[in-house]
């Protein structure tokens, strides 16, 4: 019989939290790689959290192709937090998306974090012309976090790619057409304010999480995994940049971050986020990456 996250890892949380977490964590089955390698192709992969030790990024993408949506690294210092976030993404994706910040940062924390303006920033946007102002806001937020100096530019670059993606690639109209996808990126497009996207950044527990959520839910799993596969299989200096820079932005997001999250409810919303350790650039690039590709 499959073991649950709770069965295997209840000891990660202090006694008072266990009772509270038990109903959720007992619903989430868990497998391990490479220990459970032989059964990975015979299970409903998308219902599991897969816990990984010592696997290269290319192998992780292969596991994602098998259908595992939540790949969590056991050796990382934030393993308990990530296990909680993965479990919540599996069981209650809507509640996760409604307010992802506490779950990214501290796993079921109280609203304390959200009341502290120095620890989080949420920006809503619907116009391409606002991009530089949004990035300036993110930059100003990061300047208040002295620990983030080494990764500041990396975060700004990621914010830039996320905003562009939310405005130009995400919007779809009737018959799933993407009206802005092929437009020049200098076009001053506006999406309906009711469908405004949300850029968020939060700081704490030795890391920063930067994310963007749109209200289209048009990101396709095959596109993401296919693009990442191409990038990972390319040798150095061999990546060809496509029209509008297609693909390179995604490559940069994954390459530079220690954690990468895509959570999609088709036709409803897409959430993309990156988690960065506050230990410099190399620490993020070489980290055993937590990866989430949920396209439920």
């Amino acid at each position: 019989m499959n073991k649950s996250v709770f069965d295997e890892y209840y000891m990660l949380w202090p006694e008072p939290s266990r009772a509270q977490l038990r109903p959720l964590l007992q619903r989430v089955p868990v497998l391990h790689y490479p220990k459970d390698k032989k059964v990975l192709t015979s299970v409903a992969a998308n219902t599991y959290v897969l816990i990984v030790e010592n696997a290269k990024l290319g192998a992780l993408i292969d596991l994602a192709h098998l259908g595992f949506n939540h790949i969590v690294q056991k050796t990382r210092e934030d393993f308990p937090q990530e296990l909680l976030a993965a479990s919540l993404m599996l069981v209650k994706p809507e509640s996760f998306v409604r307010n992802p910040i506490p779950f990214f940062m501290s796993g079921f924390a109280t609203s304390k974090l959200l009341k502290d303006p120095d620890r989080h920033l949420i920006l809503r946007f619907n116009k391409a012309g606002d991009k530089s102002t949004l990035i300036d806001w993110v930059g100003a937020f990061l300047e208040r976090q002295s620990d983030s100096n080494a990764i500041r530019d990396l975060c700004l670059q990621a914010a830039d790619e996320m905003i562009t993606n939310a405005l130009f690639n995400a919007p779809v109209v009737l018959k799933k057409k993407r009206p802005f996808k092929d437009l020049d990126r200098t076009s001053d497009i506006t999406i309906p304010s009711s469908l405004s996207a949300k850029l968020f950044i939060c700081f704490g527990n030795g890391r920063i999480v930067l994310g963007c959520q749109d209200h289209y839910g048009s990101l396709k799993k095959d596109d993401v995994l296919g693009r990442l596969g191409e990038v990972l299989n390319e040798r150095d200096n061999n990546f060809k940049i496509g029209s509008g820079g297609a693909g390179f932005g995604m490559r940069n997001l994954v390459h530079g971050a220690a954690n990468f999250y895509t959570l999609v409810k088709p036709g409803k919303w897409t959430l993309i986020a990156c988690g960065y350790r506050l230990k410099g650039l190399k620490s993020n690039m070489t980290a055993a990456k937590h990866l989430h590709f949920s396209f439920g």
Binding site: D136, G139, Q157, D236, N237, F239, K240, G244, G280, K282
Partner: protein, 161 residues
């Protein structure tokens, strides 16, 4: 009240004795537009004040830099981390006529969390051999700092020079 700084792409050209000097600042993004220059001339491109480069800007850069043909020589000065990172990652960023005169190497102290940028200069810190010769970089406690890059990829472009 909004943030104070407004980072915008800017590019100016001035003609020096034997070459054109192109000074680029701000983000190389969708707003980036590079000047029309004689494709066989000698050009110095100062990238010291570039703050970031996104995917659209990378493409614009590639199109511009690949226009230069022999005997043109494009000397890149003060390449920041964001630019050096794409030298290796993306084909065509470092055009055939490009020579890197100086570039930034980021350092990080695990002890103090400090970060420092060190400018590596051709002839002083690196050369055709691809080997680096850098003085020790220390943090505020006098402890040696570590390069905050993956050397195998970050410095791979040196072999192309």
């Amino acid at each position: 009240m909004g943030p104070l700084n407004n980072d915008a792409f800017n590019c100016t050209v001035s003609n020096e004795m034997s070459h054109a000097l192109v000074e680029v600042s701000g983000p190389i993004d969708e707003s980036a537009s590079f000047p029309e220059l004689r494709s066989e001339g000698h050009i110095r491109v100062d990238l010291t004040n570039v703050t970031r480069i996104n995917s659209v800007g990378t493409r614009t850069w590639c199109v511009w830099i690949q226009r230069f043909r022999a005997p043109a020589e494009v000397i890149l000065i003060g390449c920041p981390v964001c630019i050096v990172s794409v030298f290796t990652a993306v084909r065509g960023v470092l055009g055939k006529q490009c020579r890197v005169y100086s570039f930034i190497i980021p350092f990080y102290s695990v002890d103090t969390g400090e970060s420092k940028n060190v400018l590596a200069v051709w002839g002083q810190h690196f050369d055709h051999s691809g080997k680096l010769k850098l003085p020790p970089v220390i943090d505020s406690k006098g402890v040696p700092m570590e390069m905050d890059v993956i050397p195998e990829t970050y410095f791979a472009f040196l072999k192309q020079l």
